[in-house]
Symmetry: D2
Subunit: 417 residues, 4 copies
């Protein structure tokens, strides 16, 4: 049996929820129609490691409708929806993922997915890509696609060590991903995850955001929009200045630690909140992470330091510190918007997943041949995604007339002419 999931009987519930996501993904719907008609992926095998959500299901169905053979594992053991897995198996994919699976199972599933000898790997955190490079050969793989900042960092490191064997398109680095999914998606789902895990009041709270990249600024904007007073921690001078001019207080973590009611990390770095910070925090402080890996908050240090721990609610654990104060960790320090909420809304995943679908087509079905290395999404794909989305939203844009096109191209026009 070429799948390993919780319960195939969950398929009906999964299908219903996938249809709900598909409602909000008009760009993928349109691509699906095109692919279904043309069957461009006939005979192509895809190994996929993604958060297994309803939106991911819409992406995979889109590729599957175009003829692709797909094997799927989870990019994070906690973000898998078992009902979605069941629906995808019934649709004909090989799925190896169970919510909450332990580490050995997780690793076995990664290997099972790679065992289909894929033509393309689609990754979210680069676990497939890294695993593949531990093997002596990449088999039929001609290209990869990577979704996250963290995975791109890992893939770049492989490339700079001259180990990377094939081209990888970094979907994460594309404007459509940066601008939309990271900012608006992570911004909303971080708030959502915190509310579901704690039902805490954001209005009036002091909300510390570590990292002012696209995710961090999305989180900061939404926290402010919910009435919080936001403090930003950064290491980059230009980003720190931006945060300052946006009206946020900018402090190093050691100064923010005793002030915050809620802390969220979104840096891509490890050890951003450490023991020395935690011991300075107020009684009742909440700690959450929105970066890809669960290394941004030093959970190990927190567990060693605590004199007592207890689960308070789903995704909320209380740690009693030696100083008598309690701090609360959300979702084990994993991506709070995916663990405690439902990841980015379908309307945004539509954009980045449409980029993935078009990149897959570009890599497998066109004449373009990229050398090994990390590549950007070709700009024309990105612009096509934006245009399809605007069309679906019913938004018309201005266009340049002949006079304006001439002006754009010329340099003779000056102050007074």
């Amino acid at each position: 049996m070429n799948y390993d999931i919780r319960d195939i009987a969950l398929a009906e519930r999964g299908r219903k929820r996938i249809r709900w996501a598909a409602r909000h993904m008009p760009v993928l719907n349109q691509l699906r129609e095109e692919f279904a008609a043309q069957q461009p992926f006939q005979g192509k095998r895809l190994a996929v490691s993604l958060h297994i959500t309803t939106e991911t299901a819409v992406l995979l169905s889109t590729l599957h409708a175009g003829g692709a053979e797909i094997a799927l594992c989870a990019s994070n053991p906690l973000s898998t929806f078992d009902d979605v897995c069941a629906a995808l198996v019934e649709e004909g994919m090989q799925v190896y993922a169970i919510n909450g699976e332990d580490l050995p199972t997780y690793r076995r599933h990664v290997e099972q997915v790679l065992d289909i000898d894929p033509h393309l790997v689609m990754d979210d955190g680069a676990d497939l890509i890294v695993e593949l490079h531990k093997r002596s050969s990449s088999g039929s793989v001609v290209a990869g696609i990577e979704e996250t900042t963290t995975g791109v960092v890992r893939t770049r490191a492989l490339a700079s060590d001259k180990l990377l064997r094939f081209p990888v398109i970094a979907v994460n680095d594309t404007p459509t991903k940066h601008y939309f999914d990271n900012r608006f998606g992570t911004g909303q789902n971080t708030i959502d995850g915190i509310l579901r895990a704690t039902n805490t009041l954001l209005a009036g709270s002091t909300f510390v955001v570590a990292g002012y990249g696209w995710c961090g600024r999305g989180i900061a904007a939404r926290a402010r929009g919910m009435g919080a007073r936001v403090i930003v921690c950064e290491i980059n001078p230009t980003r720190a200045l931006e945060a300052y001019f946006e009206g946020f207080q900018v402090l190093p973590m050691e100064e923010a630690a005793p002030l915050g009611d809620i802390f969220v990390t979104a840096t891509g770095m490890k050890g951003v909140i450490r023991k020395e910070h935690i011991l300075q925090m107020k009684d009742g402080a909440l700690l959450a992470n929105s970066g890809h890996f669960n290394v941004e908050i030093d959970v190990a240090a927190l567990e060693q330091t605590a004199v007592q721990t207890q689960e308070i609610r789903d995704h909320l654990v209380e740690y009693q510190l030696p100083n008598g104060r309690n701090v609360y960790l959300l979702g084990q320090g994993r991506l709070v918007g995916q663990v405690a909420a439902e990841a980015s809304p379908a309307a945004l995943m539509d954009l980045s997943f449409a980029g993935q679908a078009l990149s897959t087509y570009y890599l497998l079905c066109t004449e373009h041949r990229l050398p090994p290395g990390v590549h950007n999404v070709p700009a024309e794909l990105d612009e096509r995604v934006a245009q399809l989305k605007l069309k679906a939203l019913g938004i018309r844009l201005d266009t340049l007339n002949a006079d304006q096109l001439t002006y754009q191209a010329s340099w003779q026009y000056g102050t007074a002419e």
Copy 2:
């Protein structure tokens, strides 16, 4: 057995969650200490109809710690947490409430609560007060407390018909309730309820808020803070002008209907969204209510009109209309922030419930005697609540010095003196 709840075995889980709420209710915690020491409510019976949440539990424990005998039913059949009921029964209260109970059960529970022959009724929607006035006598009741706008309207109607038999303090009309719970609490929990029920993207959406009272403006502010474009519908000219100057588009519902992606009612009025509006809506429109009663959206008309309905997710039902479009009703048109999320955060309920606790003390344990009618919370109680909260938050205020107090009292100081 003087209780009727789902399962007493849920008590441990309930206690744990109540402790989490209590962490965020420092004002009640302080009152609890005072009441526990003084036992002011010894021999007093309280009949209570409230949303049975963890925060309500903290209020009732505070009164119970002061010696009160308490019987409790739900003010809304869908907002009851069964684990909280169990914990309160174990603490020694009479609880008659089961999540999702049918109407006959609900009515029986109301009667059982009144059967303790209370000295005071504490109400949320005036169901106890109205039921009591259907009886020939109110027994030992000397006063009531009402929590919501809707309940106040109903009680005022009783009073203007000269039927009201005892004084009722309208906790709802007090600044601490208006300003904080309605605005910041309903604002947040409406967003929270919509996200949990749908995981829809708020950024970029067109979000229609019907009613620009305190709840409505809280919802509008938070929707904007999450990136939505907000349209306000109002019937009051002054409120409509306020919404306009706050930068919201102001339209009558018939013009807003074809524009909105999400609709939320918060008016206290029935039939705000009617069949003629629904038939104008876009495919995919979401309908939610944040007013007390489930009458603001005409659910009956929606059900009669729909050619097909199906549940998509928890608290989300799809209605296919004769025109081929689908609209989606959240939480059956009941309070979305209570049905699909967890009602107002504890930090805010701390304020209005502290007002209730102090009002209970005022009505049962002091010399003050109010005539039958609807009364405001005495201003000194309200100010005491605010002061206790600021103290708990560690916020110090400026105070007037002698010179300033003189200035405040005098009229001789003019432009140039």
Copy 3:
């Protein structure tokens, strides 16, 4: 010659600017048409003390068109526009006001205005009312109208001393004034005044607002909207809590003083920023006032403390302190939005001045007789103003249908019916 102004030759420029204001005052324009047709003020003399701006001119023209005889002085020596005075004289009013006039001249002008033996005094700060009560008789005066909080305080003090001889309508206390002029008008013109006086960057600045009444919250909202980080100082616990939940930092002035880049007072109280605060401020701090009187910042103490002062730009004076730091006072500590900018925009003055025009009509031309004391604007006048404004803006509202009107009046409808 029954006027005393700078230069009658400025009339043409004044007329042009008044027309610009009139463009944005559609409610007054409509009233003007009605009054011109009906001549309700024939034979009535009005003594007026207002900020002499283009918007004031539109109000007075409206009353003058209705037959009133008008004498006018300034409510603040620095806010007079000499070109407006000239235009009003040419229109046929008696004007006694010169921008920057000294105190003896100011007082003489107040007296000259009262010398017309008015039927009604229209005041802004209560200087006319107070001066009148220093006289043995109020002559023909039957009523007064007062525009500001400060004037209302002074008039109430007169009333509570049982000295007030006639009814005074407090235009200031009406929703249309509170909600709109104080919040949106003062909010904008305070920002405008600061920018014109300093051209300082608001983004990223720490902006301290003393007072969180309607003016203060307007200022705080706009400062935040321009990118500032806002700190609020308050003495009232409920208002302080509101500011906190709106996401502002709340501090007493002594803690805010060393943090602020910009300080604005809007309290109605004297000595809000005192020597001890000023000596704690950062080098470069800006001090401005948006309260009616120039007593909120202790300018006398500032001048005594400074080792050197020099004017830097119009409305900006540098005070070098003994500690070597410099602080900067805007507009001499007078209303910064009126001294350094142009007071509230015409579109808002349209509302409060329409209230004044309708109140004048109510007091002089109807059967209503109010006793001596301070009275609110009758609610029906206020609502009429709001309706006229909405109509001018082209905004339609929802209205209740028969079913809803019944619902509003009844109390029988409960949870499940």
Copy 4:
């Protein structure tokens, strides 16, 4: 006499105002100290065309203190402050600029500035660079610096025609300029210019921003912050989607034209608001431009179409259209924040001008040799500016520890390790 200015007697006033700007430019102040000590520019001649404001004066003083010989003309005839010119002449520079000078004078001044045979040209709109390339030789010029988007476009066009003779550093394209001056500076000064020119109420207004680049998004954010309802017009799909997700309405100009109360262009394109749009506008619409050149609003078409025009206030002209409506043009369609207000605040010019000062040093005083073409500001200069600014603001950042630096460099760390 090697200057041509309004009046040398204005120098004292100019110096005082320049000192006020210098207070807010701590980065330049620090560079000035370094340059004064090291005299790196001894023997170097600089031809400068910039908006002649107090901030420009601080930049030029900084270079002059380092030994540079400077000749200066205006980059826009209307933005010159004559008192600043006088102060700079007294400081020893050659200044050829008079506020409001006519076109022949403006051109003569450009030529006089180039006549010093400069080593470096510092430009704002590329008028010097273009003029130089009309000459047969560039003389001693080894490099240029260009400040604006428009100038960069013109210079790039020269380069792509293979005509550009020397390297030009595009200060405009650097993060410090984009992120800060364009967004926060233009954002604020556009609002400021509109308020000074009109005193119109922004709250509630419908505010149309054409162009959602860095300037446009700064303007949109500030307009929203002042209470306006903002509509964005764009031609780029990705930018349009961003505006949509930020909650702005996105429309083509032809649909926005009949809705707007205020229109601001910030596109770099000509003819953005044309006759066909103007004829659709509401009576009273305001038209302003914040792009570099006065071509974005078709002023010629406006003047030809109008049946009557008159100046209403400074920088505000009324155009009566054949349809009976009036529209109002601010500042002749030139940069409204520079014509009607005072350009970007010193605190921001500190950043871009520090970049210019460091680029000047880089081009004239180091070993680096760039080829002809348009170059970015070297990243290390930009980062140095940001660091100096943060230091001046007293803001400390987090820094990576050894463990984190290792993590940053490695790729072995995965999900579960």
